[in-house]
Symmetry: C2
Subunit: 709 residues, 2 copies
């Protein structure tokens, strides 16, 4: 029999210590986690409750009961630490479906759930296997992402997340299906809430540089660099209480679309509720549903709502007060947390199961000027989760974080009474869909600063991602980055040209600039760079880089297995030149007149993709200053899908002379009127990755032309 204090876990330090001591710590931490999770399910009144739906779009709890053990098996098999599955049938049922599903996935006739005892037996088998592995695994300190101990830690922290989310699901079961449990006591303290007030948080910097190996286990989304400046703001002293929120409810807030954003209004149409989800109204009196109890409304406890409700409340509050009231951003929360030094108050906070299995009054846990900066309930932010600079997917769990980088999952912060382990170590970043319920409420702030709510998502369009990698990604087969190389060629050509060599005010036009790397490279020498491309999607990527400094994309490793990449101008040493560039969508064969007066025009891998290449070549001298240069590169891959055969400028047998006309001859035929060719043609190779093993390897023939007048 466990005691309440057995639940309280000490943080597991993984970057120092003695190996065998660490092995014992890990083993204890694992068993405590496993025990806590199993104990949680003792709040179910009978085994039949395992098969009830806590929510119409979620699996019954039997799935979650089996799931955390199955996760161990799956990751340990994947990491080749377990030679075989332990119970393939249970494992096949308990692996997939953690999140909300669509209604048609949930037809229960699809599922033939195992008995609770079968799952208990299975959990026991997994516990044995994991204990054995912990005893045997050879590892060293620090424990890194690559360590064989990592998947064990991953399984433990994964179960700790489910300890919390399962407690929410249990809270969503009918009250008749659950029972109080001595180890999960409800806080007895309630009364009226104090009046909330706004307190100044001075401006400050956020500087995160979290790298593997770190002190604690972390999920991939925690690692990387992040720097931000936060303007001064005022934050509410208390989390919003049930009492403070009631005014919004009674003001008809749930019926007034003006307080809700688009997604909130969508959600309002779907939900029948006109109040927070855990509020229960009986004969005109409000009650609160806790995990295992329904109690008269504790008005001074924090209200628990989803992000959409929290956002609507703030809008209402702003209108009421005439002040810029809103949810904080993630950075503002971090600033508040640092300002309050709350990580020093961890032991006074309502978290880590160290106080109650419920909320406590909003004025119970003081931390400097504020209360509950950590603990009690999670606090929603306005910030959709996004990757830090240098983010990498952990290969053993590539869908933990990636699917949430969609601007639809918002970060919440601070942890709740049942947040433990990684959830409360100060580095973790958790995000949920905005309509989701957890033990989560909010604290509002007053700030006129704007909040970023749209982040770069991963470019998944195959051809665009291919070009992102081509321009900004790795080099393959030892072939130098192509855009870098051709920009160098252009720069060298103009540097060596007698008419331009001493000038520093040069302009260049790149036609067919694709996702823009060539332009950023050209900007190292040219003070004005215009990049044009026919594809708006390509230009969008170039603009993203210029405006936000980075891009993200996914490219195939093998089949559907993807690699996730992030590139930044800073890493590439290009950030200082970006302001010299301008990117626009434009048809090279039908250029607007104002794209003129350039000292150089660069057109790489363009002419064989134009529908009227001759038209382009015939007019291009009009866009170039006297004595200016033209750099053309092309593999001359003429294809009828891009250019009607009658319009190829080479690569055909001439219908009049019957002779073969190469593209080089075709170029001369058109360009010789206004240009003279400088130096001999030469080939420059480039490589485009299609998958981890398949590449296009091509030679582009380069010619440099000087305008003659």
């Amino acid at each position: 029999m466990l005691h309440k204090e057995d639940f309280i876990a000490q943080p597991l330090i993984i970057n120092r210590g003695d190996i065998e001591e660490k092995r014992r710590e890990i083993k204890a931490y694992f068993n405590q986690t496993y025990d806590s999770y199993e104990t949680l399910f003792e709040t179910l009144k009978s085994d039949s409750a395992f098969y009830e739906r806590p929510c119409s779009l979620r699996h019954p709890l039997i799935f979650y009961f089996g799931h955390t053990a199955t996760f161990f098996t799956n990751k340990l098999v994947l990491a080749k630490l377990l030679p075989a599955r332990i119970d393939p049938k249970i494992e096949s049922m308990c692996a997939i479906g953690v999140d909300e599903m669509s209604w048609d996935d949930l037809d229960e006739t699809h599922y033939d759930w195992p008995s609770a005892d079968a799952v208990r037996h299975y959990r026991h088998q997994v516990r044995e296997a994991v204990n054995q592995l912990i005893d045997q695994i050879e590892f060293s300190l620090p424990i890194t992402w690559q360590s064989p101990m990592w998947p064990i830690l991953m399984g433990i922290e994964h179960e700790r997340i489910h300890l919390e989310t399962s407690s929410v699901l249990i809270r969503q079961l009918p009250i008749s299906s659950v029972k109080p449990h001595p180890l999960f006591p409800v806080c007895p303290k309630h009364g009226l809430a104090p009046e909330n007030r706004l307190v100044e948080v001075p401006a400050g910097e956020i500087n995160i540089n979290h790298q593997d190996p770190a002190e604690f286990y972390g999920w991939d989304n925690e690692y990387g660099q992040h720097h931000a400046t936060v303007s001064a703001f005022k934050a509410a002293t208390f989390l919003v209480s049930n009492q403070e929120y009631l005014v919004f409810v009674e003001d008809g807030g749930y019926d007034k679309p003006e307080y809700w954003n688009n997604e909130g209004n969508q959600w309002r149409k779907y939900t029948p509720l006109k109040h927070p989800s855990f509020w229960v109204k009986k004969q005109q009196a409000w009650y609160l549903r806790c995990m295992t109890d329904e109690i008269p409304m504790p008005w001074n406890w924090p209200v628990e709502v989803n992000q959409l409700e929290a956002h609507a409340f703030c809008q209402w509050k702003a209108q009421q007060t005439g002040k810029p009231i809103r949810l904080p951003s993630e950075d503002e929360y971090l600033r508040l947390r640092e300002h309050s030094h709350v990580l020093d108050f961890k032991e006074q906070a309502n978290l880590n199961l160290q106080q109650y299995a419920s909320s406590t009054p909003v004025d119970a846990n003081q931390m400097g000027d504020f209360f509950d900066v950590i603990g009690n309930v999670w606090q929603w932010t306005e910030t959709p989760i996004y990757p830090y600079e240098g983010f990498k997917v952990h290969p053993l769990y590539d869908d933990f974080t990636m699917p949430t980088f969609d601007n639809k999952h918002n970060i919440f912060t601070g942890g709740s009474w049942i947040s433990t382990g990684n959830e409360i170590n100060g580095h973790s970043r958790y995000a949920f869909r905005r309509h989701f319920f957890q033990h989560a409420g909010f604290r509002y702030i007053e700030s006129a600063a704007s909040v970023q709510t749209e982040y770069l998502t991963y470019e998944t369009d195959r051809s665009i991602a291919e070009y992102c990698e081509f321009h900004y990604g790795a080099e393959y087969f030892g072939v130098t980055n192509f855009a870098q190389r051709y920009a160098e060629i252009a720069i060298n050509a103009i540097r060596q040209d007698t008419d331009f060599k001493n000038r520093e005010d040069l302009s260049v036009l790149e036609l067919g600039c694709s996702v823009g790397r060539g332009c950023f490279e050209l900007a190292k020498h040219f003070s004005q760079v215009t990049g044009l491309d026919f594809s708006a999607r390509f230009i969008q990527i170039a603009n993203q880089l210029q405006e936000q400094g980075s891009i993200r994309y996914s490219i195939p490793i093998e089949g559907e297995i993807m690699d996730f990449k992030s590139q930044s101008l800073k890493q590439l040493g290009l950030i200082d030149f970006a302001a010299r560039c301008q990117f626009l969508q434009q048809d090279a064969a039908n250029l607007k007149p104002h794209f003129s007066g350039y000292d150089m025009v660069v057109a790489i891998n363009l002419i064989d993709r134009l529908y009227e290449p001759a038209k382009f070549l015939e007019m291009i001298h009009e866009r170039i200053n006297d004595n200016g240069l033209l750099l053309i590169g092309s593999p001359y891959t003429w294809l009828e899908e891009f250019t009607d055969k009658s319009r190829w400028i080479g690569g055909y047998k001439d219908s009049s002379s019957g002779e073969n006309i190469t593209t080089l001859e075709g170029l001369h035929a058109i360009l010789d009127e206004n240009f003279s060719r400088v130096a001999a043609p030469f080939d420059v190779p480039f490589v485009i990755r299609e998958t981890q093993r398949k590449y296009q390897h091509t030679l582009s023939q380069f010619t440099i032309w000087k305008k003659v007048t």
Copy 2:
């Protein structure tokens, strides 16, 4: 004013001599050719005859009059010896359309022919330009294909061909449009023909090894190696005379389909004639149309027919005599020519315009046991023109020969009274469509030996040609030939295997063998090699190599400009092993039971192109002997167009565990039941050429498996 003897050209030797002397010789040879050609057109009664059609499917003579000069301009511009065209308008009309055209190309409203005087003026300009060039070109001896003098020689010999073919066109004009010319006299000798008889030609060898630089100018089709053994045969002493042929005509030969082959019967339906084309019947008497005259039938002159008529006559003659009478092959003609030492009799032959502007009696020109082995009229053979081993296209004229390698153009031999220059130097090989008329007849032979009438044509199907080059062609980016490399890997694996290392009677099955190179390489060690592929076209190429020793294909250089390649097992050092191979079309995922009992199975770049890869992998152990080996290589490029996603064996997220399954894991999951993997997986690169500048560069992951029992 020219004299008849001015027409008689001496052969132009190009591989030795004094440079300035050679320059003078070339200049004289050019001007003589040019003069002869212009003199020929003096047989037209007036300039209006230039615009008459000699034949419904040919241009009027004005085209040909301008064409030989235009050809000089085109090739000299192409060779960058002339800076610009001389008369673009005339040149655009006189370049294309030498051959028979389809009826809709010939709508004369498309053509606004220049005046004869305009063309005369143009020809004069070209003559000046060429003379100037001959004076100026720097060249050395020997004159090779690359020499700047080569395009001059090409233009001269091209004009000499047209001297002959235009004489045929003039012969096809109405008699009222032409007039006799003192320099083109008709032979006055005619009478009855001698009875033909068959004379023995002993067996012998043909050994040709004609390489650049050679003694005389040559067309590309003359170069390369050719070796053949010719069985003894009997050849007719005389060319078939009009008199001998009359019996066939009077026997109703033109109405009896049984004497004609398919193409001959097709032609019979099209032509209204029941006799040779140049025969004219007036009031029950036969006349012969010569170039400028119509004369009472000279019965002892050689009959002039197309190849289809010649072939039909032989069939008829064979039936009449009960002997295997037929046309000779090219090799048999060469054997006859060598046996008769006729090149020693050149000055007694009716060729090079040295006797008449017409045929002479078939018994006028004796050469040993035979008459007219060279000269008088061309002699049709049964042999469609084909390239010699080592054939290469001359880049300045890539469509002189290539389009005739289609099994539809038959070689004729020996030359006619107006054959000059290259036509009669003993190396040249001329071929025409079988229904075409020239100053051509035939000599029949008696031989039971069969004649090859179908030669390899150039594979032009893009994807098949790509694979031909991939297996048998050049290496790119320094990447070793892939089939050679994987065969080596397979051989090394079995050589190092304890169960097989001392055995020499090993068998191997290659699945997905494509065009077969891997099998030929495997046969170096395995005594029995079975190659299977799903594609019948691929298997056809492998079989061609096995049966005929070589393949030919064309691959793109740039756009439509093609490179023509020929590969042989001999060059590749594989000919001695070919007999160990067997190639069959077969579905790897549904293998017939008898493909079993192999010591090794090789499956390279196969599994990701199967529609049911698992089915294949699950059964493959049944085809392998105990302890046998399996070599798998694949870039794991899974594509739904080949394999439904539900059937990929890797490269997906497992629907049950939610984990990424790599193809390597998928292979283990299936193969581990019957195999153990030998050594670590490793990547082998391969390169497939698409154009001269565009390649696929891919890494195939290799795994070697040993069957466990």
